[in-house]
């Protein structure tokens, strides 16, 4: 049952990429786990403005567990990279600026007011402090 759902997500992901005809979509998703890529494309997972992933709506327990795992890994990376440079929060914030800018059309991100927005063709609604 979950495999069928997963397949439908992957198909949807492909459809979205085709619909927007963006060659860079494949580039950004190269190293991602298929389940993660599918959840992003389906709008179940979005980029938060604090540098972590957020779950949108009533996603499955699998998706929630995957997001928790990825956020733990992100936290570890931020902690390691921020050492001697800035606070962990600042490093995560700076990364979020980049991550939101790199979202592909159709993917979700957290806007400055905290709401979830679907990335369109134009520039995303990012924090004013983002370079």
């Amino acid at each position: 049952m979950s495999k069928i759902r997963l397949n439908s997500f992957v198909t949807l992901c492909g459809a979205v990429a085709l619909a927007f005809g963006t060659g860079s979509a494949a580039l950004a998703q190269e190293g991602r786990d298929p389940a993660y890529a599918a959840a992003r494309a389906a709008g179940q997972v979005g980029e938060q403005k604090d540098g972590y992933l957020g779950v949108i709506g009533n996603a499955s327990a699998d998706v929630r567990a995957m997001v928790r795992d990825l956020n733990n890994k992100r936290r570890a990376i931020y902690t390691e990279k921020a050492a001697g440079k800035s606070t962990i929060e600042e490093y995560a914030f700076a990364t979020a600026c980049r991550l939101i800018a790199q979202t592909q059309p159709g993917e979700k991100y957290q806007a400055t007011d905290g709401s979830w927005k679907v990335r369109g063709a134009g520039a995303p609604d990012r924090d004013a402090r983002c370079p």
Partner: protein, 95 residues
């Protein structure tokens, strides 16, 4: 009347009939003391309002501090931007 108020030492020989009903005060000294008290109160009020002005001037200090904070943060984030980009590329599966 004016000469009476300026010198203030000798009470003028007046009778109730010479004064209008409202201005006449049989205890003239008490009246004069009251005038000085009013003057003192006004002075104190003047100082009070001056102090109030000082407090108002110091109030905008807070927003200035917050603005400074934002500037520092923005600078840090700007400096980290390229570093963050490299981190994203190094850890493709996580981002």
């Amino acid at each position: 009347m004016k000469a009476l108020e300026l010198t203030g030492s000798v009470p003028a020989a007046t009778s109730p009939a010479m004064m209008s009903q409202a201005q006449y005060d049989p205890q003239r000294k008490g009246f004069r003391f009251g005038g000085r008290a009013v003057c003192a109160v006004m002075l104190v009020l003047g100082f009070g309002s001056a102090l109030g002005g000082c407090v108002n001037v110091s109030a905008p200090d807070k927003p200035i501090v917050i603005e400074l904070n934002i500037n520092i943060r923005q600078e840090v984030i700007y400096r980290l931007s390229q570093d963050a980009e490299n981190t994203i590329k190094e850890n493709e599966g996580v981002f």
